[in-house]
C-alpha cells in the first residue's frame, strides 16, 4: 500500500541532485564552457533527478501519462538512452539556468507537504 510518505526519499534525492546542479551552474558559464567534465556532470545530475522522480511516481502509483514531472522524466530518458553527441551544450546550460531553481522550489514544497 502507498503510505502518505511514500516517495519522500526519492524527492529528497531529486532535491539533492537539483541543488548540486545549481551549485555547479553558479560556478558560471565560462567554467561550464571550458570544462567537458562539468557539462557531463550536470547531464548526469539531470539523469539523477529524472530517475528519482520516475521512481517517486512509481511509488505513488502515478501513471506515466499523468505524471506531474513529464519534463524532467523525459529529459532523463533523452540523456540516458541517446548518444552524447545529440546533447546541445547550449540547451543543457539553459536547462540548468532556467529550470533548476523552479524545480528545486517545487520539490521543497512537495517535500514539506509529504512530510506533514
Amino acid at each position: 500500500m502507498t503510505t502518505s510518505r511514500a516517495g519522500l526519499a526519492e524527492l529528497e534525492q531529486a532535491l539533492e541532485a537539483v541543488e548540486a546542479i545549481i551549485r555547479l551552474r553558479d560556478g558560471g558559464k565560462v567554467t561550464f564552457d571550458n570544462s567537458e567534465d562539468r557539462r557531463w556532470a550536470l547531464a548526469f545530475l539531470w539523469v539523477n533527478v529524472g530517475s528519482a522522480l520516475k521512481q517517486f511516481c512509481r511509488l505513488r502509483g502515478i501513471e506515466q501519462g499523468s505524471s506531474p514531472f513529464p519534463g524532467p522524466i523525459r529529459m532523463r530518458d533523452r540523456l540516458c538512452y541517446r548518444p552524447p553527441s545529440t546533447v546541445s551544450t547550449r540547451i543543457l546550460w539553459d536547462t540548468c539556468l532556467y529550470d533548476a531553481d523552479p524545480l528545486a522550489a517545487l520539490l521543497r514544497h512537495l517535500k514539506a507537504v509529504i512530510s506533514q
Binding site: Q55, R82, T95
Partner: protein, 163 residues
C-alpha cells in the same frame, strides 16, 4: 523557460495506488498496444512495491517490472520517416509552441530542429511527448546545434496531406 512545472501540489493527493484490478486491466490494454518487447530486471524488491506487480510477461509482451503496472508503458517503435511526413503539417504547427522550427529528418524517429535560445531540454521533452501521443510512435528531437546534427540532418519534413 521554466514552464515545465505545470501542475499543482493537489496532484499529489491523487497519487495513490489504485485498485489492483484496474491496474491489471490497464496493463493488459497496454500489452495489446505494445509493438515490441521490453525486458529489464526488477527495479524494486517486491516488498517495496505499492501494489503486487503482475507477471512481467503479459499477453506475450514483457514489461519492466516496477512498483505498479500503471506506471509501466511499452516502448514504442520509432516513427518511420513516412509517418513523420504524413504528420508534417501537424508537427510544424506543434513545433513553435515549444520553440522549435525548421524540422528536418534525422533518421527513423528522429527530427533535427532549430531551437529558440532560452528553450530547455524540458521544451524538447514536451514536444516529443505530444508528438508521440499524436503519432503513437517514438519521436526524438536533436537540436541543430548538437554535434550530431550536422551528420543527421536530412530533408525537411514534407506534408503528404494525409494527416
Amino acid at each position: 523557460m521554466c514552464g515545465f512545472l505545470r501542475w499543482s501540489a493537489a496532484t499529489l493527493s491523487l497519487a495513490r495506488c489504485r485498485n489492483p484490478h484496474t491496474l491489471r486491466r490497464q496493463s493488459s490494454q497496454h500489452a495489446k498496444q505494445a509493438s515490441r518487447t521490453v525486458s529489464q530486471p526488477a527495479l524494486l524488491p517486491a516488498d517495496q512495491m505499492c501494489e503486487p506487480g503482475p507477471s512481467p510477461v503479459t499477453d506475450g509482451i514483457e514489461f519492466r517490472r516496477t512498483a505498479g503496472p500503471a506506471t509501466v508503458e511499452p516502448v514504442k517503435a520509432s516513427a518511420p520517416e513516412e509517418l513523420l511526413d504524413r504528420f508534417a503539417a501537424v508537427l510544424a504547427d506543434l513545433a513553435p509552441r515549444h520553440g522549435l522550427s525548421n524540422l528536418r529528418h534525422g533518421g527513423p524517429g528522429t527530427i533535427v530542429a532549430d531551437v529558440t535560445p532560452g528553450r530547455t531540454l524540458a521544451d524538447l521533452a514536451r514536444f516529443e511527448l505530444e508528438a508521440e501521443s499524436l503519432l503513437d510512435h517514438e519521436v526524438f528531437v536533436v537540436s541543430s546545434d548538437a554535434p550530431a546534427a550536422r551528420r543527421l540532418a536530412g530533408e525537411p519534413l514534407r506534408s503528404t496531406n494525409a494527416a
